[in-house]
Amino acid sequence: MIEEALRERLGPVTGLRQLAGGASKEAWALEAGGRKLLVRRAGVGVIHRDTLTLEQEFRVLEAAHAAGVKVPRPVEYLGELDGREAFAMEFVEGETIGRRIVRDPPARLPEQMADELALIHAIPAPDFLPGGDVVARFYDELDSVEEPHPAIEYGLAWVRERLPEGRERTFCHGDWRIGNLVVGPEGLRAVLDWEFAHVGDPVEDVAWPLVRAWRFGADARRLGGVGDVEPYLERYNERTGRDVGLDELLVWEVLGNVKWAIGCLTQSRRHLRGQDRSVEYAVLGRMAAEMEYELLHLIERAAA
């Protein structure tokens, strides 16, 4: 059925196959008009709070492409494809699986990440992007879980006292980390997954790949399991004229652990509340404790 719908939009289609990947979005690889394409389509049923529609995500991808960011070239917004929104973009060959990338990361990847993030933070923000207060949003999401989490509360209270005010707000990718980058032996090829794009403090993005869960087991390399933090931060500051320090980055790293802990809890509720029954979502509820422990550890170490 999806093949037929694709043929109507893109002409003759060959080699259609569904790729493994995100639970909330489907990804299909195919060839059409002599090009390798990737079609991204909404998952069954659920609409996330605070994520973009696929049409908005496509507009963001166009804005990123126009700003010179390495992204798959946007091809076409397809509207509803067999009942669910979708768009087509160029298929970029390379590795996206975090565990494989951290096994032998390209030497230049950290500085390439800094360069790319500097470009991303200069993308003119489309006016539909959300841009609320990040701490207030996390409190709301945590309350929606309806389960007490004093460790997460502790993290949020600690962060709330330390978040610097007055940093200018910019376009933010919102899920900037290993796993959402296409990587080849030479390094960074493309930035994927723009559904969490928003307007906010750019340091949120800078710190997100430092979160332990996104090091994919390669804990000695604190930047996403691929390199040291200092050269990445120095390069980012150089490219943007900002003066982000390690202490400020730590506050956002703690908040990153809060964010992923809450993300696990809210996703498990999709299973528990019957919106999206799946053993994958279910077990995430028990994974939140890993981020809770990490954020307490970071706070304890910072005080020492």
Binding site: A20, V283, Y293, H297
Partner: protein
């Protein structure tokens, strides 16, 4: 009180775990299905450890509260949000979370002991 026959709940979980790990997982070519089967095995492992540890033993006490009381955790959470975290609450929170991890993912804690 009903006394159930064997296999016990733990032994049933063990039997299903052995079946999934020994017979189903190796027979799966579809990598998405295989991944979900491993996730399911992980879920069974969590349930097994929680039952083996004994009910009520898995959530450690919040300060000044009976072990495992959700109300006490709720009260502590609210106090922290209001800015009134008890002094020296951090080690207690760590122990509370560590107790959850000993059930959900015992090996996770190893990284912090190195």
């Amino acid at each position: 009180m009903t006394h159930h026959d064997r296999p016990t709940a733990l032994e049933l979980l063990e039997a299903v775990t052995e079946f999934l790990a020994g017979e189903i997982a190796p027979a799966l070519d579809d990598h998405r299905l295989r991944f979900r089967t491993l996730v399911a095995l992980n879920a069974l492992g969590i349930a097994y450890r929680e039952l083996a540890a004994g009910a009520g033993d898995t959530v450690s006490p919040a300060p000044g509260a009976a072990p495992g009381a959700e109300d006490a955790l709720r009260e502590l959470a609210a106090r922290i949000r209001e800015g009134g975290a008890p002094p020296d609450v951090l080690p207690l929170l760590k122990e509370h979370v560590a107790a959850k991890l000993r059930v959900s993912n015992p090996r996770y804690l190893d990284a912090y002991e190195a």
